[in-house]
């Protein structure tokens, strides 16, 4: 920088242009040399373009009144009609509430448990037992949603499920869990924790294995107990991981997974189990209200995206860790 400032203005501009030209030349040379790498990208890029970007073109449906005869482009614009319809619909607050409560409950109950599990596993001295415990706790992750919900429904069945057998053994009356709305959220959240706590703990176990043993040794010399060392050494180490994962879960707060909710739904628990994603499916594909459904989906997406950006910004200010 200093050396160029000595030169006259024109020469300066000239060198700048030269540098730019040379850079461009360099880039083109690199591109030519790496043609094969661009070819490697084609399948994945084509997939993303077709299945992720092409649907974004269809977002305009949310502001149009779709008629199959005229296609997406030809259908007339209606402005914010569908959004207004959704906000004024009697089901709006119910759907909104169900979605937020369900995912907030999942987040609050499900976030600390993998961390606790990882800390427990990290404090097991017996390596064989540790490995065994890991294998067992990861296992439910591989069970499909369909099978998981199938298991819930047979286990909690009022007649043959073992849960009710146990309740009766303690003198209680059998409960029809799947048929009562008030149990839906607990079943949803805790079965999710059962399934994913082991798998989610892997990332923390990995982070904990990065803690330098010298830190623990010197803390022990100073007489720090295990609990103290967890608090002052282990937890600060996994803090950045925790923050990142928390941001990511916050960004998903409005997107309760469709699959499990949909499978757990029945007419008896519908008042608490209908969430925005299942409603989008029913309005869109079962009632063929394409525009209305797209608008509801878009509303959901935008809220998610906004929350993600906000939380990310806050976290960068507070802790220095962020997604981008």
């Amino acid at each position: 920088m200093n050396s160029t400032s000595v030169l006259p203005k024109e020469a300066q501009a000239g060198t700048l242009q030269n540098v730019k030209a040379r850079q461009r030349h360099q880039t083109i040379k690199l591109m030519k040399r790496n043609v094969a790498l661009y070819l490697f990208l084609i399948p994945a890029v084509a997939y993303i373009a077709v299945f992720h970007y092409a649907p974004m073109y269809g977002i305009q449906l949310a502001f149009k009144s779709f008629s199959p005869a005229e296609g997406i482009w030809g259908s007339p614009w209606v402005g914010f009609k569908w959004f207004q319809m959704f906000f004024e619909s009697p089901r709006f607050w119910q759907l909104f509430g169900n979605t937020v409560i369900l995912s907030f409950y999942s987040l609050v109950a499900g976030f600390p448990i993998p961390i606790i599990l990882a800390l427990l596993l990290n404090n097991v001295g017996n390596l064989k037992f540790k490995k065994f415990a890991q294998t067992i706790t990861y296992m439910p992750h591989f069970i499909s949603v369909v099978v998981l919900v199938g298991m819930i429904s047979v286990f909690f069945s009022p007649r043959s499920g073992f849960i009710n057998t146990i309740i009766q053994a303690f003198g209680g009356d059998p409960i029809y869990f799947m048929g009562e709305a008030k149990y839906f959220r607990h079943l949803y959240v805790w079965s999710g924790i059962w399934q994913s706590m082991g798998w989610s703990s892997i990332i923390y176990i990995a982070a904990l294995s990065g803690v330098s043993p010298e830190l623990h040794e010197s803390a022990m010399m100073d007489g720090a107990s295990k609990l103290k060392r967890i608090w002052h050494i282990d937890l600060p180490t996994i803090m950045p991981t925790m923050v990142i994962l928390l941001i990511m879960s916050c960004g998903q707060i409005m997107s309760v997974g469709f699959e499990k909710v949909f499978l757990m739904q029945n007419s008896l628990n519908n008042t608490v189990s209908e969430v925005i994603s299942t409603y989008t499916y029913k309005i869109g594909l079962m009632q063929a209200e394409y525009s209305y459904s797209t608008a509801i989906g878009l509303f959901n997406n935008i809220i998610n995206f906004t929350i993600l950006i906000l939380v990310n910004r806050i976290s960068r200010k507070l802790s220095g860790s962020s997604l981008w």
Binding site: L41, H52, K130, T137
Partner: protein, 310 residues
Amino acid sequence: MTSALKPRSNVKNHIREPLCDRVFSAIVYVLLAFILILVLYPLYFVVVASFSDPTYVNSGTLLLYPKGFTMLGYERVFSDDRIWTGYGNTIIYTVFGTILGLFATIMAGYSLSRKDLPGRNIVMGLMVFTMYFGGGLIPFYMVVKGLGMVNTRIALVIMGSVSVYNIIIVRSFFTSTLPQELQEAAFIDGCGNSRYFFSVVVPLSQAIIAVIALYLAVGYWNAYFNAMIFITDKDKYPLQIYLREILLTAKTAESTPVSGQDAETAALLEKMVEVVKYGVIVVSTLPIICVYPFLQKYFVKGVMIGAIKG
């Protein structure tokens, strides 16, 4: 993990563990044992119930071991054509989808890991954006419909083959394991990009190939949403759709009247419904549960690589 533990146990020989630490260790083991029972018991119960006499299963008197050991449930499961059709289809979708996805993911991940590729950050950015924003269900459905892929097997093979998350994992793996010098040396020897990739990079990346293949295979095996919205022909249904029928909608094959079936067999079949459910769970989930412990180290590796640059 091991390195973090060994020094501590060495130290233990010199300094006696304080009482509070021993209490702490005991609590750790008790809590873990409790968690293990909680995780394992439901899985164990499914197996127990699948081998038990329907009478005991229906009355809910089973708890710890099979009662009236019988294979009747499995006989019913294996005589159900839906299980065979579903199994066959799922294997087709899983095998072809995994191969396709593996190619696309590894190649893209490698290219994006190359620092001398102009435009790679733009491509990466565009990919990551789709993780957080999308068109939604109906626009997606219309694209697939526009491509003429509704009710085709090819749709189920292609969809789910590429995931941005997997590409990020592969990219981080290559960025952190392949030394720049290796590439330079190969290029000086006159090796081109594609030859370098296929004869140097691929043989060095078996670990990541295993990870991605496993992620993809599990994903395909368990997928049901796309099949539910796009497939209408019963002979193209994957296993999960049939499982849903059997486990959740209670629409069992035996409810359709078969000619020559008397009331007695009908009642017997009705009694079998619950046992069949347990049998079906075992049959559909066993392949993955059995294979996975052998590949566990790869799964874990995948998560760790993904964690470096999430």
